[in-house]
Symmetry: C2
Subunit: 334 residues, 2 copies
C-alpha cells in the first residue's frame, strides 16, 4: 500500500501533515508513504525514516491559486506530483489539505474519472448527532451544477462507499429536497426522484429535508454540488457560531461561569467531539480511478491520521476497484 | 389599521393565535383585528372584545392539504377568508401560522403580485449571532427554481425591507454562492452577480458563503428558493440538534450537570434567546400588493405578538406602497 502525500498543503503544513503521517505509520506498518514537498522542512518532523520517502520539490499550490491554471502551470507543485504518482501507478492513493479546487482539478485531469461516471462527486462522512455514527453526503461542491442523472450516480456511489468503507449493510439513500412529498422540488430533483426510485441497486427512501440529515434521515444524502456546498457550510457556520456564543456567554458570567463550565467540562467536550467529523477522515472525490482525498485545510495531526485510516480502508476493501468493475460491466451491457 | 388573522392556522391554534393578538392589542390600540375561524373556540381566548371582530367559519386548511387545491376548493377556509379580506380592501394585511404552501398560494392567487415582480420571495429576518441585530434572507422557498432576474429583484426587495422596516441605512446585499470569488457559481448566480453589480439601488457586496451569514456577512442575503430553503432548514436543524445534545450531555452528568447548568443558566438561556428569530416576526411573502405573513407553525403567543409588531411597522412605513410605486414607475419608464 503506497500513499502519495502533499506535505505542503493546508494552513499547518508541513508540520501537521508529517506529524499525522508519523502517527498513522505506527498503526499501519504496511503503508509506504511518499511525502512531496520541501525536504528540509519535512525532515524536521520525520521521527522515523522507515517506510518514508521524501520527494523534494520547491513548488506548491497556494490557496489563492486559480485551481485549473495552477494544475496546468505548476507542474512541479507538491500536489501535482502526488497526483502524478497515482496516475503513473507509483502510488495507490493521494491526499492533500491544500486548495480544494486545485485538488479537484488534479483528480479530474491527472488521476482521471472512472469510465461511465461523468461527474465525480465530493463526499464526506458527517456526524449523526448523538448516535456515534455518520452519514455520507455528496456532492459537496465538486460541481456548481448537476443534472438528475448525476444525482442518480451519487446515489450509487454513496451506497458503494457506505457499504464497503463504513460497513453499512443496506444503506438508505435520501434525496435532499425542499419538502418530503414526492411532488416537491425543482425539475432536477423531480427527475432524480424518478431515476432513484427505478434504480434497483439503491435503497431509496425518498425526499429528505436538510433539517433532518443530522438526525440520521438517511445513510447517504444525495444532492447537487451547489446545494450540498451551501448546506455543509451552513451546518459548519451554525455549529461554530453556537459554540463561540456559548463560550462568550460563559466568560461573561465570570467566576460563576468558570465553575459551571468546569462542572460541565465533559458535557461541553462531548458536544465538540460529536460535531468533529474529521474523525471520519477527509472528503473523497469519489468516481475517480483511485482514491483522492481532501483533508480539511486547518487540519491537525489527528485528522491527518484519520484520513490515512480512511484511505487504508478504501484500499483494503478495494472500493474503487469494485466501483470501476461495476461501471465497466454496465458499459459493456449497454 | 386592520389586520385579518387566520385564527385556526398552526399547531397551537386558536389559543396561541388569539392570546398573541390580545397581547399585541394592548401595545397597539389603533389596530382592528378580524379573527377568522370557529367563533366558540376563538371566544374562549378573547379577554377583551374591543377592536376584535370574529368572522365565523367552520372550514380550515390543514397541514396535509395540497396547497393550490386547498385554496381553490376550500373557499370558506379561515386562511382563504383572511386573504380575501385583504384582496377586497377590508383589511390591510393578513397572517397565518398554517400550511405554508397554502398561504403562499393564497398570497399569489388571492392578494396578487405587484406589477413588475414576477416571483415574490419568502423572506425572514434571521439573527446575526452575538450582535442583537438580524439580516434578511430571501427566497426561503416560495419558488423551487429561480432565474438570475428573480435574484436581482430579491436584492431590491430585501434592501427595501431592511431600509424601511428594520431601519438599516444603506443595507449591504450579498449573493449566496459556493465561494466568494466573482467567477464562482452556477449559471444563475454568475448572471445574478452581473445584474446585481449593475443595479444602482442595491449596495451589492458580492458573493458570500452560507458559513458566514450568521456572522453578518450582509444585511440582505439573496438566493434562489431551493438553496434558501435548504440553508434555512440546515441552520434550524443544526441549532436544534446542538441544543438537544447539550441538554442530554448535561443530564448524563447527574447532580454535577444540574449544578453546572444552574450556574450557567443565564449563559444557556442567552444562547436560546439569541437563536430565536421569531422575535423579528414571521416570514413575509414579499412582492405582493399587501403584507402577507407566515408565522411559525409551532408558534407561541409571543411570536404572534412579534408578527403583529412587524406588520404594524410594515403598515406604518407603507413599505409595500412604496415598493409598488417604485415598480410602477419603472414599468412606465420601460
Amino acid at each position: 500500500m503506497k500513499i502519495a502525500v502533499d506535505a505542503m498543503g493546508g494552513d499547518n503544513a508541513p508540520e501537521a501533515i508529517v506529524t499525522g503521517v508519523m502517527t498513522a505509520k505506527n498503526e499501519f506498518p504496511e503503508i509506504e508513504f511518499q511525502l512531496y514537498g520541501k525536504e528540509d522542512e519535512i525532515k524536521k518532523y520525520v521521527t522515523d525514516q522507515n517506510n518514508i520517502t521524501i520527494i523534494h520539490t520547491d513548488e506548491k499550490v497556494t490557496s489563492e491559486d486559480e485551481p485549473v491554471r495552477a494544475i496546468r502551470r505548476k507542474k512541479q507543485a507538491s500536489m501535482v506530483l502526488a497526483a502524478q504518482a497515482v496516475k503513473k501507478g507509483e502510488a495507490d492513493a493521494c491526499f492533500s489539505a491544500g486548495n480544494t479546487g486545485a485538488l479537484l482539478a488534479a483528480g479530474l485531469f491527472i488521476v482521471g474519472r472512472i469510465k461511465g461516471i461523468e461527474r465525480p462527486g465530493l463526499m464526506s462522512t458527517l456526524p449523526i448527532i448523538g448516535e456515534n455514527r455518520g452519514f455520507d453526503m455528496l456532492d459537496l461542491g465538486a460541481n456548481a451544477e448537476n443534472k438528475a442523472e448525476h444525482l442518480l450516480k451519487y446515489g450509487v456511489l454513496g451506497s458503494f462507499y457506505a457499504r464497503n468503507v463504513r460497513n453499512v449493510e443496506n444503506p438508505t439513500v435520501g434525496l435532499l429536497n425542499n419538502g418530503t412529498e414526492e411532488s416537491k422540488g425543482s425539475e432536477v430533483t423531480k427527475k432524480a426522484f424518478e431515476l432513484l426510485s427505478e434504480e434497483s441497486s439503491v435503497n431509496f427512501v425518498g425526499n429528505i429535508e436538510s433539517r433532518d440529515i443530522l438526525n440520521g434521515a438517511a445513510d447517504v444524502v444525495v444532492t447537487d454540488g451547489f446545494t450540498g456546498n451551501a448546506v455543509l457550510k451552513s451546518i459548519e457556520g451554525t455549529a461554530l457560531n453556537i459554540t463561540k456564543l456559548l463560550k462568550n456567554s460563559i466568560l461573561d458570567e465570570g467566576i460563576k461561569g468558570k465553575i459551571g463550565a468546569l462542572l460541565l467540562k465533559n458535557a461541553l467536550g462531548g458536544l465538540k467531539d460529536e460535531m468533529d467529523y474529521a474523525k471520519y477522515g477527509g472528503a473523497v472525490l469519489f468516481g475517480l480511478k483511485s482514491p483522492v482525498i481532501k483533508t480539511h485545510g486547518a487540519t491537525k495531526p489527528e485528522a491527518v491520521a484519520a484520513t490515512i485510516r480512511q484511505i487504508h480502508i478504501m484500499l483494503d476493501t478495494d472500493v474503487v476497484g469494485k466501483l470501476t468493475k461495476q461501471f465497466e460491466e454496465e458499459d459493456t451491457q449497454n
